[in-house]
C-alpha cells in the first residue's frame, strides 16, 4: 500500500530525468573525446558504461533488490564519468576493473544510490591511479600529428591498442606519448625550470587548452565542451551555481594572488582553470548531488574547500593533478558541512541550536 499523503500533485522530476540530463550535458565532452581520440574513446566509454550497468545489476541481484534501478541512469552516468577521466590508452581490462570498483566499492557497499559518501567515478579513478600509476599517467597527443603515426580513426588499430595494449602496435605509441601540461610544469620545476619557460618549451597555448587540443584524459581536455554542458545543467537547474562558481573562483583567486607574488614558481590562473580535470570536476564531479552538500552556504564552502585543496595539491603535492583528490577529501566533510550550514529558518533570528 503506497503512502498517499499530500501533496497529491507532483512536478514530474525523476531520478532518471536528472541522470539523463547529466548524461546529455556530457555529450559535448564525449563527442570531443571521440573527435580527439577516435575509436579509443568509443571503446572506453561503451565498455565503462556497460560494465557499470552490469555490475549494478549483479549487485542488486545479489542483495535481492529490484533490478529496475539499473535503468535509472545512475550507473550509466557513473560509467560515462569514469570513462571521461581515463587516459585514452588504457587497456580494456583496466577499464572494466575501474568500472567494477566504481559501482561495487564506490556505491553499492554503502547501500546503493544515495548512500555513498564518495563520488563513485572519482574513487574508482583514484584506485586505478594508485594501482596502475604508469598506465594512468600515459597521455598521447590528441589528433593532428598523432594521426600520421597511429591512426586512431582506424578501428582496427584502435581495437588492437585497446584489446592487446601498446605492444600490439609495435611500440609506435611511444612516439606520440607526451606529458600533460600540469605534469610538464611540475617536472620542469623539480629540475629548476620556471613556469614561464616550461610553458614555452611545451608550446602551450590557452586557445588549444580551451578547445581541448592538449594531452589529457578523454573528457577532461576540452574546457569548452565541459562549459557548454555545465551551462546546460545550470540552465536546466539540475545543479546550482554555488559549487562550480566557488570552486573555480577559489582556484583562480589563489592562482592569481600567488602568481602575482612569484610568476616563476606559481602558474597563472588561466592555466589552472583550463588544465587537467578541474572543469570536469567543478561542473560534474563536485556537483554530484549524492556526495555534495544540500544547502547553498554549504555548497559555497564545499566549492571553496575543493578549490583550496586542488590548488595546494597541484602546487605543493606529489601528484601533478589534485582536482579528484580535492573533491574526494571534501566529500568526507559533507555531513559536517550540511549540519553547520543550514539556512536561517523563517522567523528565527539565529540558528539557535546549530551545535546540537
Amino acid at each position: 500500500m503506497p503512502i498517499v499523503s499530500s501533496p497529491h500533485l507532483h512536478g514530474g522530476d525523476s531520478i532518471r530525468l536528472t541522470m539523463m540530463s547529466v548524461i546529455l550535458a556530457l555529450l559535448p565532452a564525449s563527442l570531443m573525446a571521440i573527435y580527439l581520440f577516435g575509436w579509443l574513446a568509443v571503446f572506453i566509454i561503451t565498455t565503462s558504461m556497460a560494465t557499470c550497468m552490469l555490475a549494478e545489476w549483479l549487485c542488486l541481484r545479489c542483495m535481492g533488490r529490484s533490478t529496475k534501478a539499473v535503468w535509472d541512469g545512475s550507473a550509466a552516468l557513473t560509467g560515462l564519468l569514469l570513462a571521461l577521466t581515463l587516459p585514452p590508452t588504457l587497456p580494456w581490462w583496466m577499464v572494466v576493473l575501474g568500472s567494477i570498483f566504481a559501482i561495487v566499492l564506490g556505491k553499492q557497499v554503502y547501500g546503493g544510490l544515495g548512500f555513498n559518501l564518495f563520488n563513485p567515478a572519482l574513487s574508482a579513478r583514484v584506485i586505478l591511479l594508485i594501482s596502475f600509476p604508469l598506465q594512468m599517467t600515459t597521455w598521447i597527443v590528441p589528433m593532428g600529428d598523432a594521426r600520421a603515426v597511429v591512426d586512431l580513426y582506424d578501428i582496427a588499430v584502435a581495437w588492437s591498442l585497446f584489446w592487446s595494449g601498446p605492444e600490439a602496435i609495435g611500440h609506435t605509441l611511444d612516439a606520440i606519448t607526451m606529458a600533460s601540461p600540469l605534469g610538464h610544469v611540475k617536472t620542469e620545476w623539480t629540475v629548476g625550470v620556471g613556469v614561464t619557460d616550461a610553458l614555452v618549451h611545451y608550446n602551450y597555448s590557452y586557445l588549444d587548452a580551451f578547445l581541448g587540443f592538449e594531452a589529457g584524459s578523454l573528457g577532461e581536455t576540452s574546457a569548452m565542451a565541459l562549459l557548454v554542458g555545465g551551462i546546460y545543467l545550470l540552465a536546466r537547474h539540475t545543479i546550482t551555481w554555488h559549487i562550480p562558481f566557488a570552486y573555480l573562483a577559489t582556484v583562480a583567486l589563489l592562482a592569481a594572488v600567488f602568481n602575482a607574488i612569484d610568476a616563476e614558481r606559481f602558474a597563472p590562473p588561466m592555466f589552472h582553470l583550463l588544465a587537467g580535470g578541474l572543469m570536469l570536476c567543478a561542473f560534474f564531479m563536485a556537483t554530484d548531488p549524492v556526495s555534495s552538500p544540500v544547502t547553498p552556504l554549504g555548497r559555497l564552502f564545499f566549492g571553496m574547500g575543493c578549490g583550496i585543496l586542488t590548488w595546494c595539491i597541484r602546487t605543493f603535492g606529489g601528484y601533478p593533478e589534485g582536482a579528484m583528490f580535492a573533491v574526494l577529501l571534501m566529500n568526507c566533510a559533507v555531513p559536517l558541512i550540511d549540519h553547520y550550514c543550514r539556512p536561517r529558518v523563517y522567523g528565527h533570528s539565529v540558528d539557535r541550536d546549530a551545535g546540537s
Binding site: 503506497p2 503512502i3 522530476d13 544515495g114 539540475t238 547553498p296 522567523g347
Partner: protein
C-alpha cells in the same frame, strides 16, 4: 523568460518583495467562470463538535430538540474555540461519534440534524451602527458567531482581533491569494460579493485600528483585482490598496503572504500581531460582515467542487454538515469507482477514505481526481539523492531531506533541532522531489510522534510531582502525628502530677 523578468522585477523592487522559495503549480482553475450556486439541503446534517483549531465543543441541545437556523448547538468555555450553529431549522435526531475528514480516520462526537423544511431562523441583533460600538463588543459577536479562518486553517478569528497597546496593528491584509490549484471559492466570492467583503474589511479595520489595508490577489485573477478595486472606490475608503501579487505557491500561506507584502517575517512561535500585521481571508471578512451587520452565525460556506473526474464542477454554497457523498451527487458524481476524492486542494488537502464525512468549516474544496492523477498512487519512493531541490523551494528554509531522514529514523530530538515544528506542510518539497519521497508525510509522522512523547513526558512529570507531593504530605502527617504524640507524652505525666497535686 517571463519568470526571469518577474524575478528581476522582484529583486529590483518593482514588484512586491516576494517570499523565499515556492514553486509554480499548474493552475487548473476549472471553475473560475462558474457562478456560485446553491447546494440543496440534504436529509440529514452531521455537525462535528470541533471544526476549528483548538478545544472541542460540547453539545448544548438535546436529542429531540427543535433548533432554528443559526441557533447555537454546541459551545465551550475554552478560549481557543468556536461554537457550532445549526445550518437549517430542524430536529436534533442523534448525538454520536461519526467519521470526519481527518488523516487519522478517527471520528468525533457529532450532532445530527434532520431539516424540517421550515424557515425559522435565529439571528443576533443586526448592528448597522457598528462604528459606534466598542470593538470588544464586536469581537464578542465574532466569537459568538463561530467564525474561523476560512482559508483552510480554521483558526478562531476573534483571537486575532485584539487591540493591544503593546502591539498596535499597522497593516491589515486581506488574503485573496488562493494559490492552490483548482480552488476558486475566494475568486468567485470576490467577483460576486466584492462589496460585502469590503464592508467586512472596514469592520475588521475598525476593530483593530489598522491604518493601512492591503487586499492581496494573485495576478492569475486579474478580473477579481479589477472588481475589488472598484468596490474599494465605491466604498470610498482611504488607505486601502488592492495589489496583484505574482502567482507563486504557497503565497496564500499567512506567513509567506506577510513576508511578500511587508518584507517582514513573523517571529517563530509568535503571531503576526507581534509585527503589527493582521491577516484575514476574504471569505472570513465576508463572514464577519454577515455576523455584525446581519447578525448571522457562520453556518455555510462556498466550496469548489471540481476535478477532472467531476462531471459538473462548480462553486457551491453548502451548509455545514452536508455529507460529501451528497454534495458530489449534486455535481453528478455518484459512481466513485477509480475516483479519488480530496478534501481541500491538491497540495495540502487530504484524500478521503470515505465520502460519508460532512462538509465542515475547513472545507474549501472537494476534488474528484482520477487514479493516475494522484501521485502517491503511481510513484514509488526512491532513495534521496541529496539534490537539494527541496531546500531550494522550502518557503520556511528548512533542509527537508535531512529533516525527513531524522523523522524516518525516529531521531525526533534531532528533527526538532532542525525546526520540524516550523514546517507548514505546504508540500513544495514533495512536489519537486525527483525521488518521489513523501517528505510531508514524514514530517507529520515526526510531529505526531513528538507530540506523543511530549504528552508522555508531561504525564510522567505530573505523576512524579503527584507522588512526591504525596510523599511530602505523608511525611508531614507522620511528623505531625509524632509531634502530637510527643506533646501528649509530655503533657500526660504533667497532668497526672497536677491531678495528684
Amino acid at each position: 523568460m517571463p519568470a526571469l523578468l518577474k524575478r528581476l522585477g522582484q529583486v529590483l523592487g518593482w514588484m512586491p518583495a516576494g517570499f523565499f522559495g515556492g514553486i509554480e503549480v499548474p493552475d487548473r482553475k476549472l471553475t473560475a467562470h462558474e457562478p456560485i450556486r446553491e447546494c440543496p439541503v440534504p436529509d440529514v446534517l452531521i455537525l462535528p463538535m470541533k471544526q476549528h483549531i483548538g478545544e472541542q465543543c460540547h453539545p448544548c441541545v438535546h436529542i429531540g430538540d427543535h433548533v432554528l437556523k443559526g441557533q447555537k448547538i454546541a459551545a465551550t468555555e475554552g478560549y481557543m474555540a468556536a461554537p457550532v450553529h445549526a445550518p437549517v431549522a430542524g430536529k436534533v435526531v442523534k448525538i454520536e461519534e461519526h467519521r470526519i475528514a481527518h488523516p487519522s480516520g478517527l471520528g468525533l462526537p457529532c450532532i445530527f440534524i434532520e431539516p424540517d423544511g421550515s424557515d425559522g431562523e435565529h439571528r443576533y441583533e443586526p448592528w448597522a451602527d457598528w462604528e459606534t460600538r466598542d470593538p470588544a463588543e464586536l469581537r464578542e459577536r465574532v466569537r459568538e458567531c463561530g467564525i474561523v479562518g476560512l482559508g483552510g486553517a480554521v483558526f478562531p478569528t476573534f483571537i486575532k482581533l485584539v487591540r493591544d497597546q503593546h502591539h498596535p496593528i499597522n497593516t491589515l491584509i486581506l488574503n485573496g491569494i488562493e494559490c492552490e490549484p483548482y480552488l476558486t471559492t475566494d475568486h468567485r466570492l470576490m467577483l460576486e460579493h466584492a462589496d460585502e467583503i469590503v464592508r467586512g474589511l472596514s469592520i475588521l479595520r475598525y476593530m483593530v485600528g489598522a491604518r493601512e489595508c492591503v487586499i492581496a490577489i494573485e495576478d492569475n485573477k486579474q478580473d477579481a483585482v479589477e472588481v475589488m478595486r472598484q468596490a474599494v472606490v465605491r466604498a470610498s475608503l482611504t488607505g486601502v490598496r488592492v495589489i496583484a501579487m505574482p502567482t507563486r505557491y504557497p503565497q496564500g500561506s499567512e506567513k509567506q503572504l506577510i513576508e511578500s507584502i511587508t518584507g517582514k517575517q513573523v517571529p517563530a512561535g509568535k503571531l503576526p500581531v507581534h509585527i503589527g500585521v493582521l491577516c484575514q481571508n476574504v471569505a472570513t471578512a465576508r463572514a464577519v460582515y454577515h455576523a455584525i451587520e446581519h447578525g448571522r452565525a457562520l453556518t455555510e460556506r462556498v466550496v469548489t467542487v471540481s476535478g477532472e473526474a467531476m462531471p459538473r464542477p462548480g462553486n457551491l454554497r453548502i451548509p455545514f454538515g452536508a455529507p460529501v457523498r451528497f454534495v458530489l451527487a449534486q455535481c453528478g458524481l455518484e459512481d466513485l469507482d477509480g475516483v479519488h476524492v480530496l478534501h481541500g486542494g491538491p497540495m495540502m488537502g487530504e484524500r478521503l477514505r470515505s465520502v460519508d464525512v460532512p462538509v465542515v468549516k475547513a472545507t474549501n474544496g472537494l476534488l474528484a481526481l482520477h487514479e493516475e492523477q494522484i501521485h502517491g498512487l503511481n510513484a514509488e519512493e526512491q532513495p534521496c539523492i541529496h539534490c537539494g531541490h527541496c531546500g531550494e523551494v522550502c518557503p520556511i528554509r528548512l533542509v527537508p531531506n535531512l529533516l525527513a531522514d531524522h523523522c524516518r529514523n525516529d531521531a525526533f530530538e534531532r528533527a526538532e533541532a532542525y525546526q520540524l515544528f516550523d514546517c507548514i506542510e505546504c508540500g513544495c518539497c514533495s512536489y519537486v522531489c525527483p525521488s518521489s519521497i513523501p517528505l510531508v508525510h514524514y514530517f507529520r509522522y515526526g510531529k505526531g510522534q513528538l507530540a506523543q512523547i511530549r504528552r508522555a513526558e508531561t504525564f510522567a512529570e505530573e505523576s512524579r510531582r503527584r507522588s512526591e507531593a504525596r510523599e511530602r504530605r505523608l511525611a508531614r502527617e507522620r511528623e505531625a502525628k509524632q509531634a502530637r504524640r510527643r506533646a501528649r507524652k509530655a503533657s500526660t505525666p504533667a497532668q497526672a502530677e497536677d491531678g495528684e497535686g
